[in-house]
């Protein structure tokens, strides 16, 4: 298998099968069956065993003619990756293809009101009653739960085992009376996430992933893929204006998935608007504001260059240096400083929102969205623990929760 042979083969297949006047799902079925949808996956499961180094060739060929790939958006990609690693053959048959085709929509049911940073402290319970697992409890921050077909559920099956060993991972059908989904309204007014309540919801035994008590290992796989694809969120938003039925269907799919993320650029601080806004308000002539703008630009550029150093080292096959672990923390600082600078630039108008506020409320949305960035996906404090322990090799936090029955570990009271 060479670069040239892969290129020739994928190009020939695309020429024979790709056209813009077909349905999205029908096209993806063809694509999945050919193995070119997920070429690095095993041949037995919709792939071609392609070495990862050759995957960019396939991507290039798709991009060259604008061919659409398998469904990459939302939690479905994490579900597919997790089940490919840990699922039974039966689970792979039932779920992989419909996830890759975009027919099934997924959500991730990990975080709970009582366990945010400490995911392994989950208290949603799963009990085997007869031949069904019965689920009771509450999940939170669940993106897409209101239109998801399936959920990736982390639940407690053993209260006497230490916390990490008492968890089990399930695939739960979201369309059942025991599952209730309510939107969770955030401080910026959007309701991008949900709360999910389980009251005697049911899971058949064949939907248990891996083994009872090994849910943490499965969840770790999901989280690893989530972290790896975190950067992807930024690129999904770039809708295309290409003409054709299949593109229309893809745009609709993307719009649904992207809807919860529409305020994410504001969450990151919108450094791109700062100079233009300072010129518009005249604050560009204020020496104090100029200093703060310059600090922000320096921080933002340095963060971008740090990420590029990490990527360059990775491409050269060098061991990852500390620069690879700092991006999340750096982006929190950038966002906070950006909100500070936008406030200085905006002055009294910073008291307004919506149509009365600058840029139809975009600036106001920055000011009230930035606090999310240093919490979501690992708080700044957890990032600092990770950096100090894994990068700097400092002692781990003393723990009192790992080596005794979970039943005896102090917990939040959930009322």
């Amino acid at each position: 298998m060479t670069e040239a042979s892969v290129r020739a083969e994928v190009r020939a297949w695309l020429e024979a099968n790709w056209n813009t006047d077909q349905g999205l799902v029908a096209w993806r079925h063809k694509l999945i069956d050919s193995g070119w949808g997920v070429p690095t996956w095993p041949a037995a499961w919709y792939g071609r065993d392609l070495p990862a180094a050759l995957a960019p060739i396939v991507e290039e060929e798709f991009q060259r003619i604008g061919a659409i790939g398998v469904a990459k958006t939302g939690i479905r990609r994490l579900a597919a990756a997790t089940l490919l690693t840990h699922g039974t053959d039966e689970q792979k048959r039932r779920f992989l293809k419909r996830s890759l085709s975009g027919e099934d929509t997924w959500c991730q049911l990990f975080s709970e009101p009582g366990s945010g940073s400490d995911l392994a402290g989950a208290m949603t319970r799963a009990e085997l009653k007869g031949n069904r697992w019965v689920i009771n409890g509450q999940k939170v921050w669940t993106t897409s739960a209101h239109h998801a077909d399936w959920g990736l559920l982390l639940a407690r099956t053993d209260w006497d085992a230490p916390k990490h060993q008492g968890l089990t991972y399930f695939v739960i059908d979201m369309h059942q009376p025991g599952v209730q989904v309510h939107p969770l309204r955030q401080m910026n007014g959007h309701a991008s996430f949900n709360q999910v309540f389980f009251t005697d919801a049911e899971v058949p035994p064949e939907n248990l992933v891996l083994d009872v008590g090994r849910g943490w290992a499965v969840a770790t796989t999901t989280l690893m893929h989530e972290r790896r694809e975190a950067d992807g969120i930024r690129t999904w938003g770039q809708g295309s204006d290409r003409v054709g039925r299949i593109y229309d269907e893809e745009r609709a799919e993307t719009a649904t998935v992207m809807e919860p993320y529409k305020w994410y650029p504001q969450r990151a601080g919108r450094v791109d608007l700062v100079i233009e806004r300072a010129k518009a308000t005249g604050t560009i002539n204020d020496p104090v504001v100029r200093q703060e703008i310059a600090k922000l630009l320096a921080l933002s550029k340095s963060a971008e260059w740090t990420a590029r150093r990490a990527r360059a080292a990775q491409l050269q096959g060098k061991p990852q240096g500390p620069e690879g672990s700092l991006g999340k923390l750096a982006s929190s600082h950038v966002a906070r400083l950006a909100a500070h600078v936008h406030t200085m630039i905006t002055g009294a108008d910073a008291m307004l929102s919506g149509a009365d506020a600058p840029m139809e409320g975009v600036i106001a949305e920055i000011l009230i969205s930035v606090p999310a960035g240093s919490i979501a996906g690992g708080t700044d404090e957890i990032q600092r623990n990770i950096i100090s322990e894994r990068v700097l090799g400092m002692p781990k936090e003393p723990r009192t929760d790992n080596d005794r029955p979970f039943r005896d570990v102090p917990k939040n009271l959930v009322v």
């Binding site: 360059a312 623990n385 400092m394 002692p395």
Partner: protein, 376 residues
Amino acid sequence: MQFSFTSEQEEFRSVLRRFLEEKSPPTLVRRLMETDAGWDRAAWRDLNQQLGLAAIHIPEAYGGQGFSFIELGIVLEEMGRALLCAPYFSSTVLAATAIMNAGTEAQKRDLLPPIAAGDTIAALACTEPNGQWDAGGVAATATPVNGRFRLEGVKSFVVDGHTADQIIVLARRPGSTGTDGLSFFTVAGDARGLTRRALKVLDPTRKLAMLTFDSVEAALLGEEGAAAAPFARTMTQAAVCLANEMVGGAERLRVSALDYANLRVQFGRAIASFQSMKHKQADMLLEVELAKSAAYYAAAAAADDDPDLPAVASMAKAAASEAYMQTAIHTIQIHGGIGFTWDNDTHLWFKRAKASEVFLGDPAYHRERMMRVWGA
């Protein structure tokens, strides 16, 4: 733009690091900083004979090694880490760069080889007691007399000015202002009418001098009245060099603070096990790595002579100044009482951080400069 070092550059760095660890231990730094000169001619000769460091970015045609600002940046980062006491920033970075930017072909052939060899120590006298780092601050005058010039005025903050063999002086045509009428001149260190006084300095590892010119005869360097552009370029390139030197010092401090926190026991445990220490160390790592990214980017921009260089040089200088000083403050804090003693080495780097914060312009000056370059 280069975002990672080549394996040759990495190898060069590690050779240099080993060399400087051996040749410039803190004990030697402490000995040299107590001397009036602040450096030792025999050790300087050693440095140049073995590694040719004074010649790094000087073109081969002028007796140099012909490397770029990326390699020069590596040298400075390692010297900053080791706190090397040597006339490197004065002679190779400031004076040689000024000659490269301003000199005629014949002057470069004449002046650069002995600097590259380390035989001549040159210093750049541009700043005056007003402490301004740009052309507007120059008041010293040069009056033409029979094809030569006579200099009048006072230069200050001249790095190694009292020990240099040769002084590159920035002066102006009488009556000119701003960027007009500026020229560079060369003056011998022992010229008649030149009075040199070593200043009492906060950072004893980098000596500064005040030079008083009383009708000193000088030779023109480059074109008469046209020094503003080469001077600005020299200061930009020097800011890049200083930023790289500073991140080397900051990294050294950061690691020393980490090592100490791992060793020091209080309340029955290493203080490194306290979350307040861990989070501080994570923040220090972030600050130093961000500053490194800016310094490395600026060095690559200097190597490519990128049109954006003046802005990114100022950005790097400002970022490195703040990261170095902040790291120095944290490092003393993490050491606790011992960190405030003379015997502990931290203050040597702390003082270099403080002096470097204002040397070549403080962070506020450079941020404003960056904004102007970007047309904001």
